[in-house]
Symmetry: C2
Subunit: 172 residues, 2 copies
């Protein structure tokens, strides 16, 4: 595989078009997580998220094994994926996959209440029910390197919390 930094030329897509699809994925409500576990297979989960400049936030319960592993390991793989119902070709669902560093925001953190309020405004009244459940944890996922896949031969390297597009991946 080869990484072409002149990605508009290499992919035949304009930067505006690529970024528009990326930004639509970032407006999804939920993300998928995969975390290495002590078993031979990873843990996996799905969570509502909100986005801020420094990363994506989830609020989730440690009664799920993947959440205990997430906090314990401090690293995970994250994916945003267009709904099947929004995918023209099921073989090439638009998706954004990236590594994250995991940081817990404790209940006494100055930002905790604001983050809860933002969850309520984005994802509705369920947050009011679970806000005081102490098995739930506020977690920031800080994106590192990733890949944006927009179809066959349309895969791009992305980087950082803004998911800046840095290269197009092609067969060498």
């Amino acid at each position: 595989m080869q990484e072409n930094t002149d990605y508009e030329q290499s992919s035949g897509m304009t930067r505006d078009n690529i970024e528009a699809v990326r930004d639509k994925l970032l407006r999804l409500c939920t993300l998928y997580l995969a975390i290495n576990s002590a078993d031979k297979v990873p843990e996996m989960g799905v969570s509502p998220f909100i986005r801020r400049d420094d990363g994506l936030y989830i609020y989730t319960s440690h009664l799920s094994p993947h959440v205990r592993n997430l906090i314990g390991q401090g690293e995970a793989t994250c994916m945003l994926c267009a709904d099947e119902g929004d995918s023209q070709n099921i073989w090439a669902r638009n998706r954004l996959k990236f590594n994250v560093e995991v940081v817990e925001i404790t209940r006494d953190d100055v930002n905790f209440d604001n983050l809860c309020n933002e969850f309520t405004s984005v994802h509705g009244p369920t947050m009011g029910l679970i806000r005081n459940f102490t098995d739930f944890h506020m977690i920031r996922l800080e994106p590192g390197k990733g890949v944006l896949v927009l179809g066959f031969a349309k895969a791009f390297i992305v980087s950082g919390p803004n998911f800046d597009i840095t290269a197009h991946i092609s067969r060498a």
Copy 2:
């Protein structure tokens, strides 16, 4: 956590209702996979699948790192998840998560052509384009134990290729 085998009583849902939601998930077009990798974070992917009595089949390229790990390790975690657009409460998307054993069906296997034909009839003409690409592999995912999540306090243990419901999970 506690597993209640009298799951209708324990969950307040009838077996018919639980199975109807499970079967709707099994009619999805795509599944998510997470595979342990040599890195600290797992690989992750999404693939169209077909279902047969002995498991779920995917047809996917080893140019994706997660496919090389999938074949190399022979085990993975799999998830089917209702579209966001079909989820009444985004905090509790219906989902079915389970461990799988991985078996490759080689191109000279007596079943290979029939499986390809079934992919074409279920997922359309893209299969015709990729059928002869030798970087693609036909893989059977054999489900072991898993969990069906249908909302808060509505999680059930499932088992085997028919995803038989065996227990309701509740806080002890």
